[in-house]
């Protein structure tokens, strides 16, 4: 078990609730039963007919009927990503045992990430504008598509008036939002709803995503997204993400909350040339996260990789990991091979997956991948691996050069005071 940590337990920021909306599971229980056994949610797109497009596979959230969970008045004014985010927040609060009405309204904040905003809603209104005229554009277009909509709607639905925020750093943004939430809790806010949910699997969103040049054109769900595999030739995009309830450890312990783990470290860098320099920027982000947590590389029990599925990016990430941990020096996994890449939702979903894995003592697998030995990674493939996990490092990279790394810690030995291990 890893140990260490110099700051008193009561200054930590912990996760006490999870709400998950993922392509391989709607809700925490469905998701975890899929993730721990390697069940994928990738398939041919059903939201529209993808036949005419070069990329036709995606990770779609199955079986989500917003009307079952949300009041009718919210439906016409929300994009799918917002409905998913609102429901994930409801579930996360319930999981945390928190009733917002019982708490001080300025003591609860909402800080989320977004990548593309409510793109499907935007497509509908753009179509009205250009085919019928400006008078047909919905009043809700003034907010339903923009990047801040999830934070705004979550704060309204739950009466949360504390520090708010929205960050956009492509796929890295979800971790950046959680870091910003931790910052606000450290400054004194009692509870922050954080994480991210993205969804833009509509024709207009799909064409814009395809323009990245990274989407796989394979029609085989088991062969389309193969990070760290010799056959790697692109990515599968998905929708969904996770919402996290974050609190100060002091607050969480005082109310007897179940604690999943601590946000122990974070680092972010920007790499103008993400495929060059042996992944130097990503390595630097990992080092910053370790320093922030007061941990050495040898104390990291598992790495959740960004896992681009693009050979040059896989190589840069593998080098960053092996430079820091040594060849095959730490177990590495990419459960996002079961969901596709969820944009800003990916980092928070990996945090949730890592926390659930720590709780069960299990590393969920990377599916479909035959790891190329040249990467020198101890990639957990095929079957989940049983492991005592005290810490987990989650990596996320965003298009353009964003790198974020976040370190989770489940238990902590207080070197000077009484042992509080396993309280988290």
């Amino acid at each position: 078990m890893s140990g260490g940590g110099e700051t008193p337990v009561t200054t930590g920021v912990v996760v006490t609730g999870l709400g998950i909306v993922a392509p391989n599971g709607l809700g925490l229980r469905d998701f975890w039963s899929a993730a721990r056994t390697g069940r994928s949610g990738i398939g041919r797109i059903t939201h529209f007919d993808p036949g005419q497009y070069p990329a036709r596979l995606a990770g779609e959230v199955p079986g989500f009927v917003a009307e079952r969970h949300l009041p009718g008045r919210l439906i016409p004014q929300t994009d799918r990503m917002t409905r998913l985010a609102l429901v994930a927040t409801d579930w996360a609060l319930r999981d945390a045992g928190v009733r917002p009405a019982d708490r001080g309204e300025f003591d609860m904040g909402v800080i989320t990430a977004s990548a593309s905003g409510g793109f499907e809603f935007g497509q509908g209104e753009l179509r009205k504008l250009w085919s019928r005229g400006s008078r047909y554009v919905s009043a809700y277009q003034s907010f339903a598509w923009f990047y801040a909509v999830n934070s705004g709607q979550i704060s309204i639905r739950n009466g949360m008036k504390g520090p708010s925020g929205v960050v956009v750093s492509d796929q890295a943004g979800g971790l950046d939002a959680v870091a910003q939430a931790r910052r606000q809790i450290r400054k004194g806010t009692g509870l922050v709803v954080s994480g991210a949910v993205d969804a833009s699997i509509c024709p207009w969103g799909w064409v814009a995503q395809f323009a990245s040049g990274r989407l796989s054109t394979s029609d085989d769900p088991d062969a389309a997204y193969l990070p760290f595999d010799r056959r790697a030739s692109g990515q599968v995009a998905g929708e969904g993400g996770a919402i996290l309830i974050m609190e100060s450890a002091e607050n969480a312990l005082a109310r007897g909350a179940r604690v999943y783990g601590e946000i122990a470290g974070y680092g972010a860098t920007f790499d103008p040339n993400p495929t060059g320099g042996r992944g130097a920027g990503l390595r630097k982000a990992m080092e910053l996260a370790l320093t922030d947590a007061g941990l050495a590389p040898g104390q990291v029990d598992v790495v959740f990789a960004d896992a681009a599925g693009i050979p040059e990016l896989d190589l840069a990430e593998a080098r960053a990991i092996t430079d820091l941990f040594g060849p095959c020096g730490v177990p590495v996994t990419a459960p996002k091979t079961m969901t596709g890449r969820l944009y800003s939702g990916a980092g928070p979903l990996d945090l949730a997956t890592a926390l659930l894995g720590m709780e069960e003592g299990l590393i969920p697998p990377t599916v479909n991948v035959e790891p190329s030995p040249s990467y020198q990674l101890d990639l957990v493939v095929g079957q989940p691996r049983a492991a005592q996990l005290c810490t987990a490092l989650v990596l996320a990279r965003g298009d353009g050069g964003f790198n974020s790394a976040m370190l989770l810690r489940r238990c902590r030995r207080n070197p000077t005071g009484p042992t509080t291990a396993d309280s988290f």
Binding site: D49, A139, F143, F146, D170, P272
Partner: protein, 423 residues
């Protein structure tokens, strides 16, 4: 807090009628307006037909043809403003550890202009639901995810530290700078290139604001269409632009002999948890943001010499904001001048918060407070000193700037001379 204080050492502004910080200040201090009839497209079908547009020729600002091709107009603004701010600060970024230099760019609506234009093409004028990817521009992904703005800025200045886009609607321009200040204070960065940019003047934006009657329908007199706090005002005037700052830790700035415009002494943001576009008249949440920002600055309300208002020119906002200021700073509200530069440069959504921080810093620089243009007949329910029509000589050592936006976000920031606060 570990005592690290953050100051502004470089400013650049791209604003309607005021390209470059110097021209921008001339516009404000002379009380001129830059609103006009929309020229970017035919505004005839729209309820609101005025805007504050920039006559922007990217090549004249040093952008190359390929930079122009891959960037939305708002990204172009951000890059030009960032380069200008670095030049203004005199900082040699190449002498610093690049991992200690970060970027935050605020934007409410990202590449909305580019997306609107590209959608029209790939959908063939809205005819196709299954839009045609073969007609998409190669850099469409940069429009899809506006973090491309921060990536462009980081790449152009050589920053490799923490970088992101902050997108909290119309408070993005304050929140982006506030986010950057927190990174420097906590020690995650030593220098931040921080600001915001938006270029929303496109048919889809005009149409959605038409639908909620947020923008002014008054188009008989475009130059005087933005009328915050005036009894005849009836909506805001859309604008565009950018402002970017160099933020540094105070002792490092002094060590290199940098010109210090102002310290960012306090910042807070709160949500009204009420309505995505509506405001309660009592201003409780904005008042709370102001109170917390002042507390962070360790400054009594009486020390505020000038308030840069959100002042969008909607009846709802002007009354909400007036109430919030009274609620937070009491009787001092009646003594301190408070003006809205949106009367001159319009409301550029996510950009305006940073443009208003620039105006606040320049008010301190010149000891002049900019006016609220077009304010002839005050709304009787707005009974503060809004500095009507002409700028005023006024000793300005500390400024409060506030913002309010869709999503319910309310933000406040305190700027002060560094030798005045924190003592």
């Amino acid at each position: 807090m570990n005592g690290r204080r953050v100051v502004v050492t470089g400013i650049e502004v791209l604003a309607p009628g005021g390209m470059g910080a110097k021209n921008f200040w001339s516009l404000l201090s002379e009380g001129r307006t830059a609103t006009r009839k929309i020229t970017f497209f035919d505004p005839t079908p729209f309820r609101s037909r005025v805007a504050a547009e920039i006559d922007f020729v990217p090549e004249e600002h040093g952008l190359t043809p390929q930079e122009v091709r891959r960037m939305d107009r708002a990204a172009q603004f951000a890059v030009v403003a960032a380069r200008g701010a670095v030049a203004d600060s005199g900082i040699e970024l190449t002498t610093l550890d690049p991992y200690r230099v970060g970027v935050t760019i605020g934007s409410a609506v990202g590449a909305t202009m580019g997306l609107d234009q590209e959608y029209r093409i790939v959908s063939d004028g809205g005819r196709l639901h299954l839009v045609d990817h073969q007609y998409a521009v190669p850099h469409l992904y940069n429009y899809l995810v506006p973090s491309s703005f921060a990536a462009e800025v980081a790449s152009t200045v050589g920053a490799q530290g923490p970088s992101t886009v902050v997108s909290t609607g119309c408070t993005s321009g304050i929140d982006s700078v506030g986010y950057a200040v927190e990174l420097v204070r906590e020690g995650s960065a030593d220098v931040m290139i921080a600001g915001s940019s938006d270029a929303p003047i496109s048919p889809i934006t005009m149409a959605c604001f038409d639908a909620i009657k947020a923008t002014t329908p008054r188009h008989d007199d475009p130059e005087h269409a933005s009328r915050p706090f005036d009894g005849t005002r009836n909506g805001f005037v859309l604008g565009e632009g950018a402002a970017v700052f160099v933020l540094e830790e105070l002792t490092a700035a002094r060590r290199r002999g940098a010109h210090v415009y102002a310290e960012i002494a306090g910042y807070a943001t709160r949500s009204n948890a009420y309505h995505m576009t509506g405001l309660r008249p009592d201003g409780v949440e904005m008042a709370e943001a102001i109170r917390v920002a002042l507390a962070e600055a360790r400054m009594p309300a009486e020390d505020i010499d000038y308030i840069n208002a959100h002042g969008s020119g909607t009846k709802q906002n002007d009354r909400h904001e007036t109430a919030a200021v009274k609620r937070s700073i009491g009787e001092h509200a009646y003594r301190v001048p408070m003006s809205s530069i949106k009367s001159m440069v319009g409301h550029s959504l996510g950009a305006i918060g940073s443009i208003e921080i620039a105006a606040s810093a320049m008010a301190m620089e010149h000891n002049v407070v900019p006016p609220t243009a077009n304010l002839h007949t005050p709304d009787p329910e707005c009974d503060l000193d809004y500095v009507p029509l002409t700028a005023r000589d006024h000793r300005t050592d500390a400024v409060l700037t506030v913002g309010s936006g869709f999503g319910g976000f309310q933000s406040a920031m305190v700027l002060a001379r560094p030798d005045r606060t924190g003592s």
